[in-house]
Amino acid sequence: MATTEETRARAVRPNLTWVGTRPVRPDGVDKVTGRAKFGADLQLPGMLVGRMLRSPYPHARIRSIDTSKAEGLKGVKAAVTRDDFEDLPSEFVPAGEMLVNYRDMVRNVMAREKALYEGHAVAAVAATSAAVARQALSLIEVDYEPLPHVIDVLEAMEPDAPLLHEDLVTAGVEPPPEAPSNIAKRLSFTLGDSEAGLEEADLVVEREFTTRPVHQAYIEPHACVANVSEDDYAELWCTTQGHYVVRAFCAKLLGLDISKLRVTASEIGGGFGGKTVVYLEPVALALARKARRPVKMVMSREEVFLASGPAPGTHVWVKMGATRDGRITAAEAVLKYQAGAFQGSPITPGAMCAFAPYALENVKVTGYDVVTNRPKVASYRAPGGPMSEYAVECVVDEIAKTLAIDPVELRLKNAAREGTRTVYGPKFGPIGLIETLEQAEHHDHYRAPLAPNQGRGVACGFWFNIGGESCASLHVNDDGTVTLTVGTPDIGGSRASLCLMAAEELGIDFEKVQPIVADTSSLGFTFLTAGSRSTFASGLAVIEATRDAVRQLCRRAAQIWELPEESVRWQDGCARSEESEDAPEPLSLAELATVAGKTGGPIVGHAQLNAQGVAPSFGTHIVDVEVDRETGLVTVVRYTAIQDAGKAIHPSYVEGQYQGGAVQGIGWALNEEYIYGEDGRVENPSFLDYRIPVASDVPMIETVLVEVPNPRHPYGVRGVGETPIIPPLAAIANAVESALGIRFSELPMSPPRVLAAIHEGAGTA
């Protein structure tokens, strides 16, 4: 594409046929014709409508719940409350690859002692129509005792703040505090001696930053259909980033055998981390088990805002020192993140990410995980990273400007590289940060002239990426086509990239590979589509499964030729014998597939693995903004996202990740925020008032794909999805600073805040 300059820093494998090309995705036609079935698109005969009753209070003790009148209403087939879910102990247990506290999960799915946020589920009904279900909800009597609430993270940390959990004692503090508080955890990472490092500095910059809570804002609301037979065999259809994880959670919450719960992932209409947990699913199953009829539950947009996601609001303090020539001598940060109603904010990755783009000798990061009367936060694209890296990247920009050093130059001077030790301990392997900075420095965007009231900003971003458990099966059909079965839901084109790798390995046409995302009973456990892992981890499983099939194909050829197996190799879609003299004609995949039944039966490659060998992805973004001094409106006029992909398997979808992540970051920087009233209730739970960027808000997002291969992946893949949401927050703040001379320390930089700051003339908003 004209806007994309593809940089091959170091080639991993020359002569690739399919990897790196841009075919139409296998599920594409279904998605442009309306055929694709998403969460709410399934209808079953006799299906009931499930609806949730939610707390109107941000914090209230629930004295009693009476569903008898609702259950007496004609057409109501089931009602469930906290009494229908067994309480579970408070302990962090591994589920899939996550640590899960089922005590909290069962309370989040259905409030028990207290409602902890506005929109907290309190009861649910299943009825023959939406109208009856609505009427039934109005007949449920809940006796609430409203309690004082707390939303803001700093207020929640005050000693006299209303307590969400009377038994919550701060972890990570020795000796443990005697009194309970809203601070669930304190953690720290240190490297070197930050105090000594600050002594060395000629310039010390110390700033505080606030970011508001935001939502993932996927366009498809949560939706599911549950069906439970009389012998308790359960089927669940739902929109999720990981149906195996949904199965694990639901089986635990409902006391079902895992083998008796089959979960099918629908097509998923966006997730960004928000569809890695369960909300409706256990409730729909509980209703279906009582009614013995299929139950469909779909959230309204208001419910999505009130009761799912979101990402935390944060307070971040940063102090950094540098020498006159721009060497950063020390860095300190204190992060305070809202966890929502239950502990578990992304404070840990936030702390680990904060200074990751820099080679520093002296670092100290402390983090606090704080509960507040908001929905329990869920992952949102690089969870925890955008807020801490935003604060750091703003301070780095201030250092550059104060020292009159070009911001890219200052970053290059201090950039992390292979061998740099991170604050969390290990040293980086080969990474591509410097390559992205060099691309930025030489990009024509970075030198283009600016108009009046315009400013330019840059910022870097880092994300770890993850591996994890994945399975894949590859069925060679007797006509020479291939069916590829994987377990990661496809949220952004992963089926295309997985098929490209299979076609590459097999040496057959991409069109011959047809993928399917299996249900939980058809393939072994596969972890979430999250953490930028699908193309990496499911990709490794696909490559292994393909190589397994290739071994079988070579064996069959050897048997047909009556040659030793070792003399047969696979090349360009054919088994070939090494023997040069009177070598047999190569046998193609199709030829071997046709005779598979006669040579030992079907050929099926399989792999199951826990993918290791992840490598992080760094990015650098450049943004130009224009500020309207009369309205305070900040408009992004040009944007370039540069990032190390390791290897772009399907470059269009890699670009798409950069572009989509950048625009989510633009929304976070300029517009998006939850607005709470004094009563602790959300004032803007709709797309009208919680305004995500629309097409007319943004320019084209130029992309530069840097490829510094991950040496631990056959094609060099790193994972690309998370990193692009990180740089925009600071890049835009830095651009606004260069346009106005005003440094904002609070997001979003929405028109009222910007206008107020312009009127004040200086200082922070």
């Binding site: 640590l99 990570g172 993932q216 840990t348 969390y424 301990g425 990426n465 993850i466 060998g613």
Partner: protein, 81 residues
């Protein structure tokens, strides 16, 4: 012997030790060895930690070999969106 470096949070539970030298051929042995040596650490190790061996991060990889003289870091597990 592998050199194991603990984060400040884990170090609190290991009597303030920030570095431990021990012999283990796999990650599982290494975690067991640490848990035996520092019982307060054990529940946290059981909950799950990521292990970096000479810079490469491993999650849930008990059987991964730990080369002698390697530098090992225990870190929190990483998820993602």
């Amino acid at each position: 012997m592998a050199r194991v470096v603990l984060t400040p949070n884990l170090s609190q539970l290991a009597g303030g030790e920030t570095e431990v030298e021990l012999t283990a051929s796999t990650i599982r042995q290494l975690l067991r060895e640490l848990g035996d040596r520092y019982p307060e650490l054990k529940p946290h190790l059981d909950e799950g930690v990521a292990v970096a061996i000479d810079g490469q991060i491993y999650q849930d990889a008990w059987l991964e070999p730990v080369p002698p003289e390697s530098e090992v870091h225990l870190l929190p597990q990483i998820a993602g969106g």
